[in-house]
């Protein structure tokens, strides 16, 4: 270090008398030490600058008449922020986990409600899809402003492919510049307003435009729930599978939704496997009792069917399966 200092100017001292500078600034320096320091300052521009800067620094640290008011103002603002809960550092991941937990709870409540409403009901997916997309396409064609609603399902499905009007309209529709968060918010609002079809459309737009966004990952679970409510288990299953494939935060809800979708489609073996997966991964899940009850039912159905294996199914589940195969 000494050599490094002396490279710049051989006449500069390598050692700076910091203690003497302190005493000089404090006015507690003896005459002999003062003379020594002054000789040092003659050759050491850095220490001379140190003394000068210390002088200015002390002046800068002195309180000004208006400081008190400004300090009070700053303290008020800081306290207001602290009272809003910012006392402790709140990391992003914590906020995200909190938000995801809330979404999971909402999904759970929605799932329970929809399961009750939806029990025993089967709706023709294709007919419903065509019925609900027709007014949207007609309205947009009339207004000639296709940017208002861009209906292009992200997930290719047999149903979507069978709706050429919708696809051709979507191809004409220009894309908007909404962010992933904005689309997610828009879909959530539509969902809250009990407009599930529009919400699904926006969720799919989000999935198509921002495949890697965090909002997209969650949207698979939410769209799956909505599709289940709409009686479209095949599309719901695809959504739940995509959520699970991306290790989404609502995996518990997605597993329950997947099992429900499989039940609706009569795929009992896969349903049983899914319920078991759910119980294994989330033994304390709110769906645990439902899963166990359903496993008992599946077991009973399989046992009753075993003696007459090979014969046409006579129970309800068998009918469901045979219906789904058509």
């Amino acid at each position: 270090m000494k050599g490094r200092i002396e490279r710049g100017a051989a006449s500069e001292p390598a050692v700076h008398p910091e203690a003497s500078i302190d005493r000089a600034i404090a006015g507690k320096i003896s005459d002999s030490e003062r003379e020594t320091l002054e000789r040092h300052l003659e050759v050491c521009v850095a220490c001379a600058a140190h003394v000068a800067v210390a002088r200015s620094g002390q002046a800068a640290l002195q309180p000004l008449p208006w400081d008190s008011g400004l300090n009070n103002q700053a303290i008020e603002r800081v306290l207001a922020r602290v009272e809003r809960g910012r006392w402790e550092p709140m990391r992003f991941w914590f906020r995200r986990r909190w938000a995801m937990s809330l979404i999971a709870v909402l999904l759970g409540l929605g799932g329970a409600a929809s399961a009750t409403w939806w029990k025993g009901r089967r709706v023709d997916d294709q007919a419903l899809f065509a019925r609900e997309t027709a007014p949207v396409a007609a309205r947009l064609a009339a207004t000639r402003k296709p940017a208002v609603v861009a209906v292009n399902p992200l997930v290719p499905s047999p149903v979507a492919e069978s709706a050429p009007d919708r696809l051709s309209f979507a191809q004409r529709a220009p894309t908007s510049t909404a962010t992933a968060a904005a689309l997610f918010e828009e879909a959530s609002v539509l969902r809250d307003r009990n407009q599930p079809q529009q919400a699904i459309v926006v969720f799919r737009r989000l999935q198509r435009r921002y495949p890697d966004a965090r909002e997209t990952r969650i949207s698979f679970a939410l769209a799956g729930k909505l599709l289940l409510e709409q009686g479209r288990p095949a599309q719901a299953l695809a959504q739940f599978d995509r959520h699970l494939a991306r290790a989404g935060e609502a995996a518990e809800e997605a597993l329950a939704g997947r099992a429900t979708a499989l039940k609706r489609m009569g795929r009992l073996a896969e349903e049983e496997h899914t319920w078991r997966n759910l119980l294994q991964a989330y033994p304390r899940s709110v769906y645990a009792s439902q899963a166990r009850a359903r496993l008992v039912e599946i077991q009973a159905a399989q046992e009753s069917r075993a003696p007459s294996e090979g014969a046409p199914a006579a129970d309800g589940i068998g009918r469901e399966r045979s219906a789904s195969q058509h």
Binding site: M1, H16, E18, E38, A49, V51, L61, A74, I75, V82
Partner: protein, 205 residues
Amino acid sequence: MRSAYHKADLTVEIGTTAGERASDPRGDDQLTNLATLATRTKDPVLVRRFLEGIAPSVRGVCRAVLGPRHVELEDIIQECLIKILRALPSYRFEGSIVHYTNRIALRAAIAGRQRGRNREQRDRALVEQGTGNSTSGQDSLPGLWFLRTLIDELPTVQAEVVVMRMVLGYSVEEIAVATGVSVNTAKSRLRVAKEHLRQRLGGEA
């Protein structure tokens, strides 16, 4: 440049340094007690009293580093106070509480200054061209204005040591405690910073 400093400056009565003020045992003890109570109880009254105790020091540090007319001075002061509140649970009663809070403020101020470095350089160029526009870093204390340019050029740890030593008046030992390094490391950082300062002044002479 060299003649602008030394000798005459030594004759100025500086008074009590910031380091000495910070090491005032009674004031520091009171602030330490307030900090402890405020951290444990989160009582708004105690928090306010603690903030009132450190706010002048924090403002002084920020003003020295950023300049009195820095556009973000008030925002950075608030940021400092919040950071200090958040960091209080981590205070281990090693060294003065004022040194602890000053260091947090200093780091935040240096970071704030570095964030606005491009704007600072642009404004300084305007002044050098003689437009007379005020800059965020320039004030009536030319030594400090020069120091701020030095802060922009030095690594953060060295800039921190320079401000503690030259502006806040900390001794090398106090710097070592405040920054959590050995005395030799603190000395080394100061020596390197002074070498940079000497080269900078030599270049301008």
